[in-house]
């Protein structure tokens, strides 16, 4: 069923329609949270907080595309808030500076297909977690979730040039750290 129709029904108090909306968006919300936070249990907390927030603000929505932007924004904000809180408690997983390059094991040349194995994915995630929180959020929203630049800037409260410079810097950091695996024949 069309998402706008579901939204209207949910706004009129139909909880089955609301649950349908949850089912449509839950895995995206969870993925964003997991990639920002790096831990399953915290990502599940954010999943719940995000949909409770949606439930409470349901009457504000007029159309479908705004709904997904709202969910991205809430998932991102709740995640960044959690990261700030855990840092204050002293659980900071020390972020490396962008210029720091880790010693990577020397591997043979690898074709693109086999790069997508789980080992490489783990490596991608590992380096993603080393970025500063907001820089990571830029990569997650822009490159992984495919939002356009203006949307990402708005969600994170950044100017477009600031967002772009974070994007450029983060991509460069990831490229530098992963390039050992990426070099072609």
């Amino acid at each position: 069923m069309n998402e706008d129709v579901l939204l209207q029904q949910a706004q009129a108090g139909n909880y089955r329609s609301f649950n349908q909306l949850v089912k449509i968006h839950q895995s995206r919300v969870y993925s964003v949270a997991l990639r920002l936070l790096g831990t399953v249990s915290e990502a599940e907390d954010v999943l719940q907080e995000t949909f409770i927030a949606l439930y409470k603000n349901l009457h504000h929505f007029r159309g479908g595309s705004k709904l997904s932007t709202y969910l991205f924004r809430m998932a991102t904000n709740f995640s960044l808030m959690k990261l700030r809180r855990s840092k204050r408690r002293g659980h900071d997983s020390t972020h490396l500076s962008l210029s720091a390059v880790e010693e990577l094991p020397d591997t043979a040349v690898t074709p693109l297909e086999s790069l997508l194995n789980s080992e490489f994915r783990a490596l991608l995630d590992q380096h993603l977690q080393k970025l500063p929180d907001k820089d990571r959020a830029v990569i997650v929203l822009r490159d992984i979730e495919g939002l356009d630049g203006a949307q990402v800037a708005k969600i994170l409260g950044l100017s477009l040039p600031a967002m772009k410079s974070k994007l450029h810097r983060s991509r460069e950091f990831l490229r530098k750290n992963l390039s050992v695996y990426l070099k072609e024949n």
């Binding site: 909880y15 609301f18 649950n19 949850v22 089912k23 839950q26 895995s27 995206r28 969870y30 993925s31 997991l34 990639r35 399953v40 599940e44 999943l47 719940q48 949909f51 409770i52 439930y55 409470k56 693109l112 790069l115 997508l116 490489f120 994915r121 991608l124 990569i139 490159d143 992984i144 495919g146 630049g149 772009k164 994007l167 450029h168 991509r171 460069e172 990831l174 490229r175 992963l178 390039s179 990426l182 070099k183 072609e184």
Partner: protein, 89 residues
């Protein structure tokens, strides 16, 4: 390439690499696009840099959504139900 040329080339490369991210996102003006493409064709260092950058971004874009952990959907609906009942009273 001669040593005298190096400084100029490095400067040119630096300007080119700073445009790569926009180029990947199709955000470069046509004229700059063409200049970048010409440069990539003749500069192996930049070509390598660009290829690895492109592959990094491509890999990220190909990542799929994470499946919810066991029981998470059930817990989510329980939480929503609780909020709904609080709302009603």
């Amino acid at each position: 390439m001669s040593k005298i040329m190096n400084k100029n080339i490095d400067h040119h490369c630096k300007r080119m690499t700073s445009a790569f991210s926009d180029y990947l996102d199709n955000r470069l003006k046509k004229q700059l696009c063409q200049r970048l493409e010409v440069h990539l064709a003749e500069c192996p260092d930049c070509k390598m840099y660009f290829d690895t950058l492109k592959m990094t971004v491509t890999l990220y874009r190909s990542l799929e959504q994470e499946p919810l952990p066991e029981g998470a959907e059930k817990r989510l609906f329980a939480t929503i139900k609780l909020a709904r009942s609080k709302n009603r009273t």
